[in-house]
């Protein structure tokens, strides 16, 4: 009976150890990551040139490089969350596809690959026609999920060749929300702006904007915050030019952007970041 108890105890310890082991090394193998890319590209006999691993906050990735490009597979959910297509960075010097058509093509791509959310549940928040000089042009579109005025961590980005309509790049992030969305937090928008402006100095402020956001920290925990973006210029010139021709002095004031992150319940300043 005594030996039986010891045996059961040992088994329990071994079992718990193995569970811990699975918990800490959770994720997919290289082979599974390559398989996810094969499925994503719908292409047999993938030639893999490199496999490396990346950690972004609480997410880990297998980055698979093939002759087609670079594909990041989320090690937890086996989804390709980032894709860069190499051959599509050619023939992009002309812009033959209008932006609305480019958006339509990109939304079609999302419907096929960003399957966690229907496109209708996403809001197109940014659209660019980028001019890369001798490297041609590129459309880039950003969609975000916004629920009751609160921006969630879920977003998708599509880059498109404006001449061929081929997809150049894709990012698709979806994380299940684990906290309740609060669209009317204790700290109001005006409170947030006041607190944020007090947290910075030396800036001639030209504009202030706010966003309610759910962010994920390095431990994978979700938190709702106020994000206050303050734009302006440095109060003092960073440098001055004197024109030898006219004798005129030209002071240069640096553009300044701060992002201040605040706790929505207490107004506590969580992070003050000078962006540029």
């Amino acid at each position: 009976m005594k030996y039986k108890s010891i045996l059961i105890g040992l088994c329990a310890i071994l079992l718990s150890l193995s569970v811990v082991s699975i918990g800490t090394s959770a994720g997919i193998s290289d082979t599974q990551a390559v398989s996810a890319v094969t499925q994503f590209l719908e292409k047999e006999n993938l030639i893999v040139m490199d496999i490396s691993e990346y950690q972004i906050n609480s997410d880990s990735y297998h980055a698979i490089v093939t002759e087609d490009g670079e594909f990041w597979v989320n090690s937890e959910n086996s989804k390709v969350e980032l894709a860069i297509f190499i051959p599509n960075m050619n023939d992009n010097s002309d812009v033959t596809i209008p932006m609305d058509e480019a958006i339509e093509i990109s939304e079609g791509y999302l419907a096929q690959y960003y399957t966690d959310l229907p496109v209708e549940d996403l809001k197109l928040t940014e659209s660019y026609l980028e001019q890369h000089g001798d490297a041609g042009s590129e459309y880039t579109f950003v969609w975000r999920e916004i629920v009751d005025g609160v921006i969630t961590p879920n977003y998708a980005i599509v880059g498109l060749n404006p001449n061929t309509g081929n997809i150049i790049g894709y990012i698709g992030i979806y994380r299940t929300l684990t906290i309740q969305i609060d669209s009317n937090p204790t700290i109001t928008k005006d409170d947030a702006i006041d607190i944020a402006q007090e947290a910075i100095n030396g800036v001639s402020i030209s504009s202030v904007s706010t966003e309610l956001k759910i962010v994920i920290d390095q431990n994978g925990e979700q938190k709702e915050i106020w994000e206050v973006c303050i734009d302006g210029t440095s109060e003092k010139p960073s440098m001055s030019f004197v024109s030898v021709i006219t004798g005129e002095t030209f002071p240069v004031y640096d553009p300044v952007r701060y992002i201040v992150k605040l706790d929505v319940d207490t107004g506590k300043t969580l992070h003050v970041l000078r962006v540029w």
Binding site: I56, E70, I84, Y155
Partner: protein, 249 residues
């Protein structure tokens, strides 16, 4: 005596001719820049007193360039003039820090310094420091530079006072340059730099593909926020690769 005088005139003529030839040669042949083996890659980042800092972009880039068999060197808080002096002997020049139209800003721990594009545009000079140089101060070309990356705000924009850093570098002989058309976020700039040099050095991708991949990398690292990093510009050959390690042509 007459003959002797004639010989004297002849030898003086020859001396003058030789002097002229020497003068002409010194004007037409640029002073040769030193080409090191392995080719040198100089990388600059800064811990600015007014923020945001751009370390450790330089050492990260240098590590990648070492992998591509360059002599990757990193300089944190360098003055502008030493960087400018080294530039002609560099195969690669990479800068991550503050900048504006036609200028990149240095900080040596005590004072600011600048490398500016062109003083012939409308001859102007900074008043707050003596630590500045124009690319147009070079009597010779920058043709040994294979690639210059100015990862700073507005580095590809024209200034009516001091010109355009990216295009002027190209005109001075840099094979291919990279700059930005807008303000760029500091976090995105550092992430872009890391991935850009990784792509170039490890994958041997072109500057065009490397920059585009780095753009998405910077976005995914920052919650989908580009903060201007998507506005990169390449002047020169977008298909340029940096391997094998070499100087520019």
């Amino acid at each position: 005596m007459e003959k002797k005088k004639k010989n004297g005139v002849q030898s003086r003529t020859i001396r003058v001719l030789l002097l002229c030839i020497c003068l002409l040669l010194s004007i037409s042949i640029p002073v040769g820049a030193t080409q090191y083996d392995p080719p040198r890659a100089s990388n600059y980042d800064f811990d600015y007193p007014y923020g945001p800092d751009s370390t450790p972009c330089a050492s990260d880039a240098a590590d990648h360039q070492d992998e591509a068999l360059y002599d990757g060197r990193s300089y944190t808080n360098s003055a502008a003039i030493p960087a400018w002096e080294k530039m002609a002997d560099d195969a690669i020049f990479s800068f991550v820090g503050h900048g504006d139209n036609g200028v990149i800003s240095f900080w040596d721990g005590d004072e600011s310094g600048y490398i500016l594009a062109d003083y012939y545009v409308n001859y102007s000079y900074p008043t707050d420091t003596s630590d500045y140089k124009y690319l147009s101060n070079y009597s010779t070309e920058l043709s040994d530079l294979l690639h210059a990356a100015y990862i700073s705000c507005n580095s590809a924009n024209e200034s009516s006072e001091v010109g355009n850093l990216t295009s002027y570098s190209y005109q001075k002989g840099v094979d291919t340059t990279l700059g930005f058309l807008t303000n760029i976020g500091a976090a995105q700039a550092c992430d872009f730099s890391w991935k850009y040099w990784y792509n170039l050095a490890i994958y041997n991708w072109t500057v065009s593909t490397s920059a585009d991949s780095a753009k998405y990398y910077a976005a995914v690292y920052n919650g989908g926020q580009f903060e201007g990093i998507q506005n990169y510009v390449i002047v020169g050959n977008p298909q340029l690769t940096i391997k094998p390690a070499r100087y520019g042509s």
